[in-house]
Symmetry: D2
Amino acid sequence: MPIPAPNLNPAFNIVRLSHVEFGVTDLAASRKFYTEILGLQVTDEDQDTIYLRAMEERGHHCLVLKKKPEAGIDYLSYKVWSEEELDKAEAFFKAKGHKTEWVERAYQGRTLRSQDCFGAPMEFYYKMDRLEPIHQKYELYRGVKPLRIDHFNCFAPNVDQAVEFYGELGFRVTEYTEDEETGHLWAAWAHRKGGVHDIAFTNGTGPRLHHTAFWVPTPLNIIDLLDLMATTGYVSNIERGPGRHGISNAFFLYILDPDGHRIEIYCSDYQTVDPDLEPIKWDLKDPQRQTLWGAAAPRSWFEHGSVFTGVDTREAELKATPIIAP
Amino acid sequence: MPIPAPNLNPAFNIVRLSHVEFGVTDLAASRKFYTEILGLQVTDEDQDTIYLRAMEERGHHCLVLKKKPEAGIDYLSYKVWSEEELDKAEAFFKAKGHKTEWVERAYQGRTLRSQDCFGAPMEFYYKMDRLEPIHQKYELYRGVKPLRIDHFNCFAPNVDQAVEFYGELGFRVTEYTEDEETGHLWAAWAHRKGGVHDIAFTNGTGPRLHHTAFWVPTPLNIIDLLDLMATTGYVSNIERGPGRHGISNAFFLYILDPDGHRIEIYCSDYQTVDPDLEPIKWDLKDPQRQTLWGAAAPRSWFEHGSVFTGVDTREAELKATPIIAP
Amino acid sequence: MPIPAPNLNPAFNIVRLSHVEFGVTDLAASRKFYTEILGLQVTDEDQDTIYLRAMEERGHHCLVLKKKPEAGIDYLSYKVWSEEELDKAEAFFKAKGHKTEWVERAYQGRTLRSQDCFGAPMEFYYKMDRLEPIHQKYELYRGVKPLRIDHFNCFAPNVDQAVEFYGELGFRVTEYTEDEETGHLWAAWAHRKGGVHDIAFTNGTGPRLHHTAFWVPTPLNIIDLLDLMATTGYVSNIERGPGRHGISNAFFLYILDPDGHRIEIYCSDYQTVDPDLEPIKWDLKDPQRQTLWGAAAPRSWFEHGSVFTGVDTREAELKATPIIAP
Amino acid sequence: MPIPAPNLNPAFNIVRLSHVEFGVTDLAASRKFYTEILGLQVTDEDQDTIYLRAMEERGHHCLVLKKKPEAGIDYLSYKVWSEEELDKAEAFFKAKGHKTEWVERAYQGRTLRSQDCFGAPMEFYYKMDRLEPIHQKYELYRGVKPLRIDHFNCFAPNVDQAVEFYGELGFRVTEYTEDEETGHLWAAWAHRKGGVHDIAFTNGTGPRLHHTAFWVPTPLNIIDLLDLMATTGYVSNIERGPGRHGISNAFFLYILDPDGHRIEIYCSDYQTVDPDLEPIKWDLKDPQRQTLWGAAAPRSWFEHGSVFTGVDTREAELKATPIIAP
Ligand SMILES: [Ca+2]
Ligand SMILES: [Fe+2]
Ligand SMILES: [Fe+2]
Ligand SMILES: [Fe+2]
Ligand SMILES: [Fe+2]
């Protein structure tokens, strides 16, 4: 199936991915991981909830940690262009027959909650509390020195369907992997904010969140993080990397938080604002697609993901085999 | 004068700065500078003209060098969102009483030429020849390994007026410097593509081009360039830097090409896609505004610029004194 | 077996490892690998031989490539403190009953050839042609931008014996791995020149050369090399890394030349000039000894090595099992 | 005056520079500077004294801060090869007619105190308490992440005399600057430990300590330090840099501690263990000698230094003019 043309005039205007809420079982352990290792800044916290932001962000939070009996992903949240876009979003989802509701979220204005084509919870807002810049407060930098949240990556039981649904929302595909035999998509990367992606989809049991990525400027940030994790008791939380993907040219590292939520540290990216930017096609059989160089991915990387709280998953329809470390 | 609210619905949609044409007096000398030192890739050339692109760009060119008896800037060019935007642009400029014409530009579709509020030539197009990606052809990387053109910086005789005019075109101010005594703007940074700027204005005799900037990922690219220039006969082409600006947090280096056109190598940037991003205000008297750290700028940096071919300049209206190296 | 005390007054004074001669089967292929990928500089060449040096070296060569019908290692060569040390060296080896001879080597003065305790050829000289410095000729830097040869690493059939023999020559152990069960050494690192090592030994069929290492200042040199190799047809020459060893704290990459001679790119090191520097002991069972972080080493890394031309090997006496990638 | 041939067999064997004691007037301010900004580790402290080491060092200290009514340098200390060398050192200095005494120093064995040819205090010891390695305790790294003390740089009233005296002690000159007109030395760099220098001398009122240098692996350490200092109230403690010297190829930064003691952060170095390494000669008139690239040095850099406690200084005999920032 060819990649559909980008929808340059979607029903409502999503600016970018904004934040995610993780259900975590041990709030203290998660706090330590996200502040001392990853280096996010706490912007508020109480007994049940911790709000965090990265160093160049001025919105109140890009990550919410919520104490829960079981780990899971409560929602992925997106910022829209204006208040009016929220009403257009409601109309859009209602017209599709997706359930919608207006929810209360701390530090945010009106917030719409609905689901994507697989039932994964999506939230939309325009207004969030704005905080003072801290990107020049260099004494606060810690851990990997993350500058901003970059993207979500999800397992989808049908990537063609994901690309169609998110494409209608205006997400423009920048790179994709096709299974040459069936002509179906194996994976796709799609953006709103002008980088390689705000969200990506990989074939697999879903919907599940594969990872949440944070952007850093240089591979040395990642080397520093590896040195830190390897000598502070987190060596087994390193799952894959460092390496470079053929796709997106990302210099990457994948690590697991105390509940197994996967975090990517992502370096390298390119500008994708041109509306006529041609997506780059990769063959599923091309070994350098996954790994331009670096060790092959372990099996866990292809199989493990975080479920969305209360959302059923189904198996992937496409059966194909990527290259897994033996 | 306070910064005007951003115009989120401009008359036509400019995607980003695209390219610039430099009049150069010695094409061979310029070719050497831009390919061996800066590291741009030649995409076409003949006896009079050289087209160049940076490593992640897929448009045909970001820089055009044109053999001329005298050095100068022929135009600054911008990419718009679609063919239709070009007609809206024509209407916009006509309504303002600015002269417009449709010009022929190699490797581009329909191209509109007009002027900004100071008479500086602006060109707009939608379609440019697209080339194969080369960002993963690492054997081609040379010099500073530039990834993309980032921004223009212009001397303006009245920065308030520049911000108003470009603001109407949808350029959103991210940071600015105010002269506390008069309340007038000394300098402003404004973007379309979601970074700190596509264009900036500094108080001074204008319109003139102060510099054209290329983006690199790490300060080490800049250190490597300094080592290369210092040992290949280009030490006197290094004008200022390395250092970090308070404004924009840029890690910078300013160098001069063989005709004195100033090039900035720019590292660090932050995402500015939020429509409600608050501009950051700096006081002209704050020494860390210009130079968070590093040597003070030499006088030439405040005075020297490239004229636009055939365009008259006038003196700046605001008289104020930045910090100049003694 | 405990590490013997360092011999601070050896029979003759070895300054440092100096160079190695590789027998290679395709001189053109090797030339391309060592100049365009590794980035060494050719200092002389004819139909059968190529001499190379790294960027900060002023001696004529650190690597000699010799056209041969079969790949192999012709000798490891060491620089001594003065002409007189060569005669003391001859006396030392004769007293041990090791065969010695004076050989002719281009660009070198008097050169003594003998063997180590396993029969591996060692050569010693004091005088080599000195060349002009090129470390500030930045336009010559290529590939991984290697600054100097750093160390040899050899498979030894008995590492206790290696440490005793080389210890008598004044090589001081900086780090070592012991097999806790037998008390025997599994591996050891020993230096003359004040870094972690000039030579290291690993338990295995030997004598064979495991690798020759070149020093670079930052992990980014290694990332750049990986990007280059992965996109110029050398991806399968990448054997292991990047990663960090617990031992020596080395940020490393192992690559194979066209004949399978293994080259390490080595970053990080520390000063070891104190005569009372305590060697650091590692347990063979400690997984972070081999790999502080990074993928486990492939089987080839433990088994493959280059034979010394005409020298018989024997199996390792110590049977123990390091951690191999599954 | 030509550089004298290196003395390869000095009267006693100095291994390396070891440490320095700074008299400081505000111990708390100095502690903050050296731990939070520079990133040294406190190894012991009481009301009057703080002992510090850098990250790869295993000796107890490389810097001693002593509360004093006036700032000054109490002594420069060197490690020798063995206990016996201390007695040889005593004989050497006595034979020269330099006063000697055995002094008590905490955490050290027998310590000999004498003076150099200008009266500057030199101390020598063999044994110092050894501490556990911390170079792999990455959570402890702070500030510029200094790995080790690298060298001292002193103003000398007669550099020819300095080179002769220290040359007799076995310090081997690696690079030097000659005043072509008089044939006298303007500056010289000399080593014991196999790098570019353990000590350097510059023409000027002396003896005074110009700076103490710490080694870091990459220019990014220095960029990080600049960002930190510029945003934590230390911007005026940045005196010069970043830049690269022609001499020694050092990527450098010079900063001032709260008492004005100058610290260099030094990156890049090269191996100098060959006994026949040719010193590199620079002309005082060569502008790239001082500054391969970067802003010219400020006047303070040529004039300001720390006096040795209780030691008289005299003016430089050679009158010549380096390039000073206007
Ligand atoms: Ca770096
Ligand atoms: Fe990702
Ligand atoms: Fe700029
Ligand atoms: Fe090695
Ligand atoms: Fe220095």
